[in-house]
Symmetry: C2
Subunit: 437 residues, 2 copies
């Protein structure tokens, strides 16, 4: 991989020249949110770049509307230009930022433009990258589904009968998606403190702050294109509908969820907040990291609409969960990989639209919690790590947790590739504050 002339890129940076993820920023000079990419410890302001006519025409020959797309407060317009355009623009930006750029005068050797366009990330603010029409959360993390099912029903009945046949999912709450760094207030909820006792006439729920506030380590997928209502998306054409990927922490109040979820699924246990990382890694940037998803012995063949032409349906992205206490001690409590999915995003999309459900550019699909097959340090939720609060997770600073305490900060990280050419997501971070009500 070529290197970039952008100064001081750490070899361990998620934002190497091989990545070029897109996001929405505001800057001291321009507080209106607009598009940028991340490169090393800098953001390259695409709205500023768009004001340089030579540069834009170099970057985007024959792409009408690109300058306008880069001035929007979300990436939806850019996303809906389609994957061939994303590919062309990413490639042109890689050329522009490469040490071997064919157009050094446009940016590298243009100090005034560099000063305006190449901004230290510490000086800018990131915003939610997409206007999300609908958010759907799947349950495709096989080892998570198995572990949680085994916890409540025993290993013989861990998976529901439908699990190996269709990507189970539910509709989430689009309004509750926030960008990394947004404070998370512990939700208040209706909770059953004790399961109903034998002979007890009535359960006695109470109202109070959740006592079982948890994380869910997920991969999120943003769509760049929609389908006509009534017409499904074929599994092998689904890639063309995908814009890119983010990390997703689907904060969960387990005690609220346990009491509310029968028979219609999770509701207030999930809809108070979900955090996404700010930089959308384009689908093309992850192509080199494809691999096969979870293989289950004796699994029945899936129905035709879910059968993919390509075996490598998922990505091998290293994922980590850090927990920092209010005292500032940080522990990596979980490490796994996004290859631990049993359904690919194209399969999720083909299933989601089988009945004709309309998708729109900006829609977000979550993978479901991702856990590895191994021990508690490979798990993507505290529910699993602590066996629903029965065991402690030990932390640095002589501390321990079953579920999250006020003042805790959880940071998800994810990356693939060699040092110097990493494709990563940056941070998906949220700090827990006490309940507001």
């Amino acid at each position: 991989m070529e290197s970039s002339w952008v100064p001081d890129i750490d070899p361990a940076s998620d934002f190497s020249l091989a990545n070029i993820p897109f996001g929405i920023i505001s800057t001291p000079d321009d507080p209106a949110p607009h598009a940028a990419i991340a490169i090393g410890s800098y953001a390259l302001d695409l709205k500023v770049l768009s004001t340089a006519p030579d540069l834009l025409s170099q970057l985007s020959p024959n792409i009408p509307g690109l300058a306008s797309a880069f001035s929007q407060p979300t990436l939806n317009t850019f996303a809906s230009l389609g994957r061939p355009i994303h590919r062309q623009v990413r490639s042109a930006l890689q050329n522009l930022l490469s040490t071997t750029t064919t157009h050094p005068s446009l940016l590298r050797d243009n100090p005034p433009l560099r000063a305006r366009a190449l901004l230290p990330q510490s000086t800018i603010r990131t915003h939610l990258p997409m206007a999300i029409g609908d958010y759907t959360d799947f349950y495709a993390g096989y080892h998570h589904a198995f572990a949680v099912g085994a916890m409540f029903r025993g290993p013989a009945h861990a998976l529901q009968p439908n699990y190996l046949h269709l990507p189970v999912g539910y509709h989430g709450r689009a309004s509750s998606i926030v960008v990394s760094g947004t404070p998370i207030h512990r939700p208040t909820g209706q909770i059953l403190l004790q399961p109903p006792q034998a002979g007890e006439q009535q359960p006695q729920p109470v109202t109070g702050p959740s006592r079982k506030l948890d994380i869910e380590l997920e991969l999120g997928c943003f769509l760049g294109r929609g389908n006509e209502m009534g017409r499904g998306i074929g599994v092998d054409e689904a890639e063309e509908y995908i814009f890119g990927y983010v990390l997703l922490n689907d904060w969960s109040a387990r005690d609220v969820q346990t009491w509310e979820y029968v028979p219609l699924g999770p509701f207030n246990g999930k809809n108070f907040a979900s955090t996404v990382s700010p930089w959308v890694v384009l689908a093309d940037a992850l192509e080199p990291f494809r691999t096969r998803g979870v293989q289950v012995e004796g699994r029945p063949e899936v129905l035709g609409y879910l059968r993919e032409g390509r075996a490598e349906g998922v990505f091998d992205i290293a994922l980590e969960v850090d927990l920092m206490t209010a005292e500032g001690d940080t522990t990596t409590i979980g490490r796994t990989s996004s290859k631990n999915l049993i359904w690919s995003f194209p399969q999720m999309l083909a299933h989601h639209t089988l009945g004709g459900c309309p998708m729109r550019a900006g829609d977000l699909l979550g993978s479901g919690t991702i856990s590895g097959p191994g021990g508690v340090n490979e798990r993507g939720s505290l529910l699993e790590m602590t066996e629903n609060g029965k065991k402690d997770v030990l932390l640095a600073g002589m501390d321990a947790r079953t579920f999250l305490k006020d003042g805790d900060t959880v940071t998800l990280r994810g990356f693939c590739g060699e040092e110097g050419a990493r494709v990563g997501f940056g941070e998906c971070r949220g700090r827990i504050y006490s309940a507001l009500q």
Copy 2:
């Protein structure tokens, strides 16, 4: 109630002077969707009215932005002006259209403006009235929940333990909401034709058009105002967040739903389409029709955040379901009332936001299927009328149904009040077409 000078208002019209519901229309002269109200068999074009400066200043003294709100392609801007403004504008429009109007010269005695603004509904097209950020469907129809629960678990366990303690609900799919008249294609889905037999190793699902396509008769509630993330909406302030009401047919594929819904709730069985009536009946118009919801003997007292200051939390709206066959024979297969809810919309809203979930103007809440306590002709779904396909619903024309056939048209109707002063919803209609895939 006063009468209107608008010609030929049928005493049975849903759109009496007592109503004044708001919608979005396009017209032969102005194909860009914009705001209107319904009066008798006419639509009064509010964008045209806004071009008459005297009239607008009469209608809206001190309401900045009203003309602009009426030119928008959705009612979201108008809705977010708040209930006091809705009240003021509705009252001014009632005055304008009354036989005893204090301003006859503005419209009644202004033939050129009348010709441009008062349009037969047969000449205009209605559109989805709101841009819906999120759609939530509740399960507050007590007799429906009881009947469906009894069907699958027996009457002793009909209601889940949480049912009397919290308004059970789930997140629906906002992109799938369509306006009355939009064709509904039978969804294709993954279906288990036979429940797994004893000794069978694996269930054998198939892909195919749903064989159990059903309706759900619901009342829909549009919000006009949002809350700050993390801050709940108190049950007694919730009315101020409500813009108005529509009829809602939450089309359901029962066979898809049965197989998919464990453990995360309904998904493809619901997300292919839901139909709303085009005219939003303002919350104020329904105030005279308040009544108490379902009273259940021995019901435990609800928790404080759900306790309403007012006993009359729901409305007594007469509801009807018509089924017309492809041959044109129409049968009213169900009649009930919206008073058959055990939770009010303020209670649903207080519960939805208890954990801080953010609401936005334009969000849609569905009541859940509404059925009466009586026989099969009081039911809001074919699932109940036919006991999940075991019994026929008899139709005019010597026909019968268990679930819907291609070519069937289902029309929901709802109204309250005396003839001549009815407050009704018009039609919520959809025709079933064969699966597209």
